[in-house]
Amino acid sequence: MYGLGIIKGMAITMKHFVATYLDDLRWLTNGGRYYNDEALLVRQSLKGQGAITVFYPEEKLPVPERFRFVPFLVTDEPAAGQQWGQDWCTSCGICAKVCPPQCIWIERGKQPNGRPKPEPEKFFIDIDICMNCGLCAEFCPFDAIKMDHDYELASYDRTTAHIHDKERLSKPISYWREIAPKKAEAEASARDFVKLAKERRKNKKGGEASGQEERMEEAKARQLVYRGKLY
């Protein structure tokens, strides 16, 4: 019959329309379908049915641990009375070199005698150039630069707000543990492992094959940290 295809299509649309309300009813006793974290998780998963809308400013779609937005620098917890903690960055320049659009500027710190100090004097990221690719975080051997999860960065002026300097970039390690707990833990254990293997090798110094095994272990662990492959 001519028009059957159209009717069939309309039936599907109708089904969708009804499903929205059915799901609303189902959640009625559990505190409703909206503004409810539990419902949000179900609604956004494969089990979600009916309308899948996230009511953004009130409820936010959780981002996964690997989510990447603009980078930030990891520091130690600031000591009491201090504003900034010790930088993890050693100013090795790997992130600046690997950055595809070259949006990272690092001025290496100098000791009084003119020797380079393993700490950045200045660190800039131009987020108008940054492509959020995450290569800096992936290749940082010291876990010192990580990709932030904060995407709410809209501003009225870009001339000042869009070049992030060291103060803007630095965030304590607890922040990283908070936004990516599993990843942070895996990285920490890998770092410990490298340290351990190094120590064991040192203690064994002069021993048989000068700690071949530990060296291997260390290299393996370092590789895992280095590439961020652990998690």
Binding site: G5, L46, I52, F67, K97, W105, E107, C133, L135
Partner: protein, 606 residues
């Protein structure tokens, strides 16, 4: 170097039986044109060097006698050290599959003239225009040799190695100014105009530059011949670059007689982002995130093609688990891309929004998976040389990963396809709008170098995954989807078919992913600061959802940057056949025909 290059090699004991049709074709060519076709003697270069004057007859022989009837890629290369420009052709055998016969034509850099191959392979049209635009290679006999990606008055040919952009900093990355003494600056602060512009020395604006695109309308006739009946002039209508139906910033200059399309000229370059120029400055790994932004709907496939090319060049092995993960990602990308493409095709056909919004739900679920695995919804930057960047995540939206994938592949996506079928396939309006519209015959599809769904909907069962299998595709059981009518409706159906085939592949991939859990996902080759162990050229091609995506990369020995980096973009080349498909139809159909090609401007303009 050049002299040795063109010297005829010593006749060796050539075997009569070849295990490879490419070798056979090359031997036949060399036999037939002993003086003009010689082996390419450079390190790791394949194919032959052809004398520029004979390229047309060699191409004709290749097409008619040797069966290499599909000219996939044409591109220029600047060999500045030899003071030469090179044109590289990749031709394939569409019936038998297999590798490419690569033809190199070298001409003098100061006066680069190469005979055009458009009379033999119409699909070379846009690609030759691009080579003219980017390198200034003049193609003798080309019917319409205008700039294509830049604009008419553009000064210089930007992909030449000695051409420098306004924000030029250094020939290769990493730039020295970033570390250790990196004082931040914005590049425009160092330009007197405060903008990314430069003018040729002595150039003064006269006001004449307001007359842009004068040659755009050259040869477009609007007066009507004296035929009986209602007499009206033809009208030229510009659709785009801002037009809701052109899928981005694409423009069609349409000549109309009443409502019937008499001629159509695609205009592109409105999103020309210098992918290749930047790609030649980048180190090898830096190009991966840039490839995401080519066809930004299917970034995983773009990554795949690029890493394949580089792996070929550096000789890297991919671990088993990484291959399975790659296939998982690429096939999911195909599903995502086709869902998106069909949604918008139906939008163009008048099914406003509804199918798009329904397909979009499943697309979002796959994007959730991409975000959990790679960190970004669209710009995945996931593949690395010899593997992938991360293993699969533990869970997605609160579901364990294998469970999530299982439900997605066995439940959600098939249901969505079924629903799409019910919603659209039988719909009478859709059928009336699309059946018989935008016809492209199989011969034309091959001649115009169409690829992907456009080619297969015209009845040519050519799929790179089967024709020249890469990754583990030869171990997988799937059919190449083919439809035979070559109209919009078939291009709609073939995308549905392809998604079903992708699901078949995904079903086979899942057990392997389970079996290889915990296995290494990347080889031990260095990624960061990679240097090519040996120089040479490599062409990596994959069956991107839009068609054959190829990366042509050449590098010098021990170099950390590609020497030439070219993308054979399927969307771009598929547009060559657009005029052929649209002429004779109504103007409203042009929108739907464009939608059925499924272009993404990031890839068209690069």
């Amino acid at each position: 170097m050049t002299d040795t290059m063109l010297k005829t090699p010593e006749p060796s004991s050539t075997p009569d039986v070849y295990d490879n049709p490419v070798d056979e074709a090359i031997a036949a060519l060399k036999k037939r044109y002993p003086d003009t076709v010689v082996d390419d003697s450079r390190e790791n270069y394949s194919g032959v060097v052809v004398n520029a004057n004979n390229i047309v007859e060699v191409a004709e022989a290749l097409r008619d006698d040797l069966g290499f009837n599909y000219l996939s890629s044409v591109t220029g290369v600047d060999l500045i050290e030899d003071n030469k420009l090179e044109v590289v052709y990749h031709a394939y055998n569409i019936e038998k599959g297999g590798g490419a016969v690569v033809l190199h034509v070298q001409v003098d850099r100061d006066n680069p003239i190469v005979p055009s191959l458009v009379p033999i392979f119409p699909g070379a049209d846009f690609q030759e225009r691009e080579a003219w635009d980017m390198f200034g290679i003049r193609f003798d006999g080309h019917p319409d040799l205008r700039r294509i990606l830049t604009w008419d008055e553009f000064h210089g040919h930007p992909l030449r190695k000695d051409w420098r952009e306004p924000f030029y900093e250094a020939d290769a990355k990493p730039f020295g100014s970033r570390w250790p003494g990196g004082s931040v600056h914005r590049a425009e602060e160092q330009n007197i105009y405060g903008k990314n512009v430069q003018y040729p020395s002595g150039w003064v604006p006269t006001g004449g530059e307001y007359e842009v695109e004068t040659n755009m309308y050259e040869g477009v006739t609007i007066s009507r011949d004296a035929t009986p009946g209602l007499k009206t002039d033809k009208v030229i209508v510009n659709m785009g670059p801002q037009h809701p139906s052109t899928h981005g910033v694409f423009r069609m200059v349409v000549t109309l007689d009443g409502e019937t399309i008499m001629g159509l000229r695609p205009v592109m370059g409105y999103l020309h982002r210098n992918h290749e120029k930047i790609g030649e400055r980048n180190t090898f790994i830096q190009n991966i995130p840039y490839t995401d932004r080519l066809d930004y709907i299917s970034s995983m496939s773009n990554n795949h093609g690029y890493v394949l090319a580089i792996e070929k060049l550096m000789g890297a092995e991919v671990t088993e688990r990484a291959e399975w993960i790659r296939i998982l990602m690429v096939e999911l990308t195909r599903v995502v891309n086709h869902l998106w493409a069909l949604g918008f095709l139906l939008n163009d056909l008048g099914a406003m929004q509804t199918p798009m919004l329904y397909f979009y739900i499943e697309r979002e679920l796959v994007l959730d998976f991409f975000e959990a695995a790679a960190g970004s919804r669209m710009m995945c930057n996931y593949m690395r040389f010899g593997g992938v960047a991360y293993d699969l995540p533990d869970d997605v939206r609160g579901q364990p990963i294998m469970q999530f994938l299982h439900d997605l592949i066995y439940d959600r996506i098939p249901k969505a396809l079924e629903q799409g079928d019910g919603l659209m396939t039988g719909n009478e309006i859709l059928r009336n709008r699309s059946i018989g519209v935008g016809y492209l015959s199989a011969e034309d599809a091959i001649a115009y170098s169409a690829a992907g769904p456009v080619l297969r909907a015209s009845g040519v069962p050519y799929d790179v995954r089967r024709a020249e299998p890469y990754s583990y595709y030869e171990h997988l059981d799937f059919d190449v989807a083919v439809r035979y009518n070559g109209d919009i409706y078939d291009r709609f159906l073939i995308r549905m078919d392809e998604m079903r085939q992708s699901l078949r592949i995904l079903e086979q991939v899942l057990p392997h992913l389970k079996a290889t859990e915990g296995a290494p996902i990347i080889g031990s080759k260095p990624q960061y600061a990679l240097r090519m162990p040996a120089g040479g050229e490599a062409y990596g091609r994959v069956e991107n959802p839009k068609g054959e995506l190829g990366y042509y990369v050449t590098a010098k020995r021990r170099s950390s940057n590609p020497e030439r980096y070219h993308v054979r973009a399927p969307s771009f080349i598929n547009l060559t056949a657009l005029e052929k498909m649209t002429v004779g139809h109504k103007v409203a159909d042009s929108v739907a025909i464009l939608g059925s090609i499924d272009i993404v401007l990031g890839e068209v303009d690069r």
